[in-house]
Symmetry: C2
Subunit: 890 residues, 2 copies
């Protein structure tokens, strides 16, 4: 016979913390607490398997269930010496849901179940407190009526308000027993009126009504949506906990409270929480009375801390707190009730905490010897470090939401709205705080993005140009805020009937994607010593190296400051947009005779050499991977008429002919067009110049600093081995020429991006001519899923919201599709060259989930934007520990 019901408390604990899947989190922990001797009112848990069976059998329970519940209930009766439904001294119970993970949207709790017109009198007699009994009864009707029977909550509230008004009182505590009797009557009428049925009088009917309500709520629309959003399988099911009531509302020696074993906001090792004397659980949350602090040290003179008011129970709670932390080895979020000075524990679970608290608690607990260093590393969610590295919105500041976009680059920033990169630069130069607002950004806007406090776009996804560049710079960015209509001409942006003008202030929250009207106060980031401690510990255990994507000296310096061990991607095209270079770049593209093109390219050489020298100097011998020109040429084209005329003058050509050339270069799908090594093959002189600049810079900086610079030259968009063969040969020839001119040599590598499905599939062939692979998972995601990052805004959010895709694949790698190709590429590549160096330089290089995947594939390094480096270091450490554990257990 299947066991559907597990008892806890009162000397029989059939469950334990390890049985979360079967008993839910709450049930498992109640049994666990009881089994380690903590005061838990007796009860029982109906398992999650009942939930699954219930839905599998057309909302019917297993036949044995009723008997098992009855038997467990009987044990509770015996244990507390009361009988359920007994008119003289009734046992009351609470019924609570409890899934594996806490889940909003489900039925939560019904207290005081078992009361009716007879038992309420028994309770009054046995407790010798008529007011308490009737208060409990009306509470029961109110909760059961709303959560089980579906009567709108405000119907009861309104009625209570009217009653208070009639009685001339403002506080519930001023309502007397006789008044409550009247209110109970009115409550029952409301139930009858709203549901067409009388309030159930029979305790067994009440019990099964509540149990069914819990199971029924598992499939309600809100719960379904939540599960989809959080990737919780429907077949997990929920458990139901039925537990003997203890009463915090039975007088002044009674209380109820919710607290954390440490401060969840700062992590400080102090008891943190609130309680209310003479109250039941929901009163603390409802805010009818003001909860009081726990410890005397934290109380102001007008407060009544529990330490003073209920010193005995407080002392007991402190003992329990200590036991729980030692037992669970983590900060706990607990609920308790004090009945007649006796403490009862109603719940414990790991407490949610801020990033700062997570960090401090992990380090403190490790230093207290409560957990190991490795456990400390695993306790801090890597993504939460963003909160420590960037300014955040002051949680207390008032906000006026304008719209929402994607949280593309973390941090918070406020500034005046500006619509062009030029104006941003002008106003920033005068010291103004400005936010660049664009429909989308292009490489031409990079200088403006740099000067702005933050960037807002209305198109594009998590790997759109704006998002990638802003993350790289550490600028706040909200991208793809499709609800906003930008009108460049009118210099306005509009949502519904709210229109903001250029110069108006807005505030961006890059951590949530929110856009607020006006200036919202922010809190600057503070990096504690704990941060360096954690990073140090993480570095000791991780296997994956962490590099940064960086192309400016500033980026490179940030990267080193955050502990990057090299540069995994330096995009040379970003260097082409400097105002002193773009003219030559355009001449190079627009000229149709090779001689003029050569002249323009030669003019670019010193700039590129200088770019690379600076980066090599900053990185002092750490590896630097430089990617040769990648984007389609038309990205560099002059858009405006003035710019077109400038280029025409410089080339001595007509504006007409340049316009024709510009249109000839335009493409239907530039992402799949004439770019990457395709440019290097058809315009070989561009790559030749870049290779020369890299090698000349490396030789010069090697001499100057004494560091051996080993440049890594990366050829983008290779799909076929021959492409790398041809470009490699040309590069080698130019390197040899430089060596000969300079009478010296140095070590260098030539490798490729693996960013096309074909490259991953034929990686064994490509590896024959590659010294390293760097997986370009941004473009690999675009091609594998056939998904343009610039256009996905019109359907990708829908996909994620409706569970068609578990996550945005540009944020977290799609393991089954893109990931399978990365694995294939790594395995195929190493089949040919076992020591092939493998890295990843897509945005996924900074995503903890993706890093765990890259660890499992055995890559050598990840490369991410400089501000993500700490996140990546921690995530890499956690991934290494997870792999270690997996290996140990297999």
């Amino acid at each position: 016979m299947t066991k559907w019901v597990y008892s806890f408390g009162g000397g029989l604990n059939e469950g334990g913390a390890g049985m979360r899947n079967l008993l839910g989190g709450k049930g498992a922990n109640l049994a666990e607490m009881a089994s380690i001797g903590l005061p838990v009112p007796p009860g029982f848990t109906i398992t999650t398997e009942v939930c699954s069976a219930y839905y599998d059998n057309g909302n019917a329970y297993p036949t044995e269930l009723a008997e098992q519940v009855a038997s467990a209930l009987h044990r509770v009766e015996k244990s507390v010496g009361l009988v359920f439904g007994d008119a003289s001294a009734p046992l009351l119970v609470s019924v609570r849901s409890g899934a594996r993970v806490s889940m909003p949207g489900m039925m939560d709790t019904v207290l005081n179940l078992g009361l009716n017109d007879e038992t309420v009198e028994g309770l009054a007699a046995s407790s010798k407190d008529e007011r308490f009994a009737w208060d409990s009864y009306r509470r029961f009707i109110q909760m059961y009526g709303s959560v089980v029977m579906g009567v709108p909550h405000h119907r009861f509230e309104d009625l209570l308000e009217q009653a208070k008004h009639g009685l001339g009182v403002t506080d519930d505590t001023a309502i007397k027993a006789s008044d409550w009797r009247e209110i109970v009557k009115d409550y029952k009428d409301v139930v009858q009126k709203e549901t067409g049925k009388p309030f159930p009088n029979e305790p067994q009917e009440q019990l099964w009504g509540a149990i069914s309500a819990v199971f029924g709520s598992w499939m309600n629309p809100r719960a379904n949506t939540y599960r989809k959003l959080h990737d919780i399988p429907a077949n997990w099911g929920t458990a139901v906990n039925v537990q003997a009531m203890v009463f915090g509302n039975m007088g002044e020696d009674c209380a109820t409270g919710v607290c954390f074993t440490r401060d969840p906001s700062t992590g400080e090792n102090i008891f943190y929480g609130e309680y209310l004397v003479n109250a039941q659980g929901e009163d603390v949350v409802a805010g009818i009375r003001t909860p009081q602090p726990m410890s005397a040290g934290r109380a102001t003179s007008d407060q009544s801390p529990m330490e003073k008011v209920l010193p005995e129970a407080y002392k007991e709670l402190m003992r329990v707190r200590d036991i729980l932390e030692r037992h669970y080895r983590d900060m706990q979020d607990i609920e308790f009730t004090v009945q007649s000075n006796v403490l009862y524990m109603l719940q414990t679970r790991s407490g949610k905490r801020t990033a700062a608290a997570a960090l401090k608690i992990a380090i403190d607990m490790a230093q207290e010897g409560l957990i190991t260093q490795e456990e400390a590393i695993q306790r801090v969610p890597p993504g939460s470090l963003d909160q420590l590295l960037h300014p955040t919105l002051d949680p207390k500041a008032e906000r006026n939401l304008f719209s929402r976009g994607l949280p593309a680059s973390p941090g918070a920033a406020a500034g005046a709205i500006v619509f062009t990169a030029e104006e941003v630069e002008d106003r920033a130069a005068k010291g103004e705080d400005v936010i660049l607002v664009r429909i989308e950004t292009s490489p031409e806007d990079v200088h403006g993005m740099h000067a702005a406090r933050g960037v807002l776009t209305t198109r594009g996804g998590m790997t759109s140009h704006a998002a990638v560049v802003a993350r790289g710079m550490g600028r706040v960015c909200v991208a793809g805020a499709g609800g906003i209509t930008v009108d460049y001409k009118a210099q306005t942006m509009t949502v519904g009937n709210v229109t903001l003008k250029g110069g108006d202030w807005i505030t961006l929250d890059g951590g949530t994607g929110a856009v607020y009207v006006g200036k919202v106060a922010t809190i600057p980031p503070t990096l504690s010593g704990d941060f360096s401690t954690l990073m140090g510990w993480a570095d000791e255990v991780r296997r994956l190296r962490v590099r940064a994507n960086a192309e400016t000296p500033e980026d490179a310096e940030t990267a080193r400051r955050f502990g990057a061990e090299g540069i995994g991607l330096s995009r040379t095209e970003h260097m082409f947009f400097g105002p002193d270079r773009i003219g030559f770049v355009r001449q190079m593209i627009m000229s149709d005779d090779p001689a003029t093109r050569k002249k323009a390219i030669d003019a670019l050489l010193p700039f590129q050499r200088d770019d690379f020298s600076q980066i090599f100097r900053i990185m002092s011998g750490l590896p630097v991977t430089i990617r040769l020109l990648d984007p389609p040429l038309h990205e560099f084209l002059p858009h405006g008429e003035t710019e077109l005329e400038e280029v025409a003058t410089a080339l001595g050509q007509s504006v007409e002919s340049l316009r024709a050339r510009r249109s000839a270069l335009s493409e239907a799908n530039p992402m799949l067009g004439h770019r990457g090594c395709r440019l290097g093959i058809t315009y070989p002189e561009i790559y030749t110049m870049q290779v020369r600049a890299i090698i000349e810079a490396a030789i010069a900086v090697s001499k100057e600093t004494g560091h051996a610079i080993v440049p890594e030259i990366m050829i983008p968009l290779v799909g076929v081995k021959t492409e790398l063969e041809v470009t490699r040969k040309a590069a080698e020839a130019e390197v040899a020429a430089v060596f000969k001119e300079q009478g010296t040599t140095l070590e260098y590598l030539i490798g490729t991006m693996i960013e096309l499905p074909r490259a991953a599939i034929t990686a064994d062939q490509i590896a024959e001519v590659a010294d390293f692979f760097s997986f370009g998972t941004n473009d690999l995601t675009q091609t594998t899923l056939g998904l343009s990052r610039d256009d996905a805004g019109s359907f990708l959010p829908y996909y994620v919201d409706h569970g068609l895709l578990p996550k945005d694949p540009f944020v977290s790698i799609d393991r089954e599709g893109v990931g399978a190709l990365v694995r294939m590429g790594a395995e195929n590549g190493r089949k040919t060259k076992p020591a092939l160096k493998l890295g990843v330089c897509g945005e996924h290089g900074g995503d903890p989930d993706s890093i765990a995947f890259f660890e499992s594939v055995g890559l050598d390094y990840v490369s991410c934007s400089p501000f993500r480096v700490p996140v990546a270091r921690l995530a890499a450490a956690q991934a290494a520990l997870a792999m270690k554990k997996e290996k140990a257990s297999s």
Copy 2:
């Protein structure tokens, strides 16, 4: 010791036809002919391995080679009773190259080698013909001087012309021995002057000079280019054949000729070729004298057929012809020489032939019992059937080349240049022949393409819109002719300084990609009974089913006429462009409230139902796969202002708001954008309408015709299983609704395109909810290689020309990349559902090479444009036979 030299003729045949790789085609066949007793002058072949060794060792020969050549030469001397270099009666030899496959660009032949100032006198004495000896000597200097020593050929020709002028003669035969002596002297002076070296006198030096010239020519630029273009590995190498000379120029009982054992142009079973009395091989080709026909029956009264002039040798040749055809079991291309009435065979190989000849010869030979039916099937190149199905240019017509593009859709057509689809329709309605010229076409041009004789575009590749649609309609198309500049405003198209105006005539050759100025005469296609015979035989052996891609009744009828066994792809979007529909389509897209959208969609329902009914009726129960809407919505948008206003009026909205909507729908990379099932998911009402139309039509036509219609509903662009799950569920719901309304049911399938790498990789999951897969290899090629078919024109031709890619991957499937994904998709899919129906509906479905691949993967069917169906049937048969052979041998 390696054997580098193989003898043939004169009683020792060390080689044979099976040794083509080692001896080259010519050498292998000379040995084979000699071994079956045919008269072959003795000689020897230096193997292709010598060529490889020569290049591997820095242009040096293996040490044993000289000795082996000397020994083989000695055998030849003994066999013919003459000595090489002997002053009294010298042995002369020819030196010829001979690779595995015949290869232009290499040194071909040097005749009469061994002559010098002494041996020429010996030859004169032994032949008793001084004129013959000196003519042979000057021929030798001329050939050796130009092909071995690099003297421009015209330098000799000019000198000969001057001499003839001086002598007052016009014909070479009128030049006497003494005159030739003078000319020989002058020739030697030319060699000295041009090369700075004397003409080599020593026969051994001559011999090794010629051998080295053959090996050296293997790596000359023209040969390299040819090899790259034809995918011939450089390490194959060439062989060298040295053979005792026989002389066709030793008098009136001597001759030389080239002929085919059947007519290579029609396939008729007659001896076909030309010969010249008293001549050497090159005279036939050079055109100095007019060659004469072989058989008397084919000769006009003023001709001298060999049958009459040299009856004995002719009789012998007829015997040889018969032996050769029986031995080689194929039509042969032979070279022969008659010396003093004795026939000598100098070469045999399978003869090149037209498509018509290939067909006739294959069928005839099978019916003659020379070959089996299966062999006959393998003898006809499937691609050549295009020539039989479409008009071709009259080979005799004069041509004036304007430019070249890609041979996108076969056939030849002439017409007046017209630049808009509207004008095409107007003028075609008046009975004019017109060619639609566009930079690129879009779905809006389809009606114009249909009315035109042919289509010319200056952008886009082999799977561009123009190419795909034209092939589907059987219209001639030259695509991506990038050398042509089109100016719509001026109504001109220009190449260099040649400008054609609208209304001027051009002629397109869709088989070669050529564009000619003016009208070039064409020959209509003729389908013989042999064609049906071959198709019947092919159908008996093939395993792959062949379907057609068709969306109009006309297409469907063509498909059935050509033997299609169903429709593998019916693109519903093409049906949206009818002038009676496009208005509703635009209203559907442009409306932003669901109610208006629903109204527009409802208006489309009867049109779609009628479209499908017509196709179901024509296909009479054969399977029909209908793909739901695929392209991004903006393809249907009104481009012009007038059209925009029309839609605005119909919707009661402002033109401004529609312009905004149009711009909101535009995409950076539409190929990777909001299309396919992504539309079906975000605008479910479109797919719902299409599903309803399909099912209603199927029910109606089933009732009407009694054929059981089993519609196959295909969801495009699925990358994730959930996409198919959601769209399938919605479709099933609508089908159920129709069934209920109509009180009937029918069988139907719901499947998906596999056209994204992710779909292939996760095909095991997708198969759980798919009844069939159809590989969309066009889009799969685009995504796997990251290659936009619309933009690849700027580099893909370069890639193919320079061997970076072996072939255009849009024409012939990239087996290693895209093919690997197709195989993965098929295997993964069948892992889940062993009986899963698998097909392919990309353009590769009509490409013979790709079909061979699909056979090896085990797909169930291929689907191609209607006019490719016969090609596909034949290719499928050949693929089945090849697989059978492979299995038998493994």
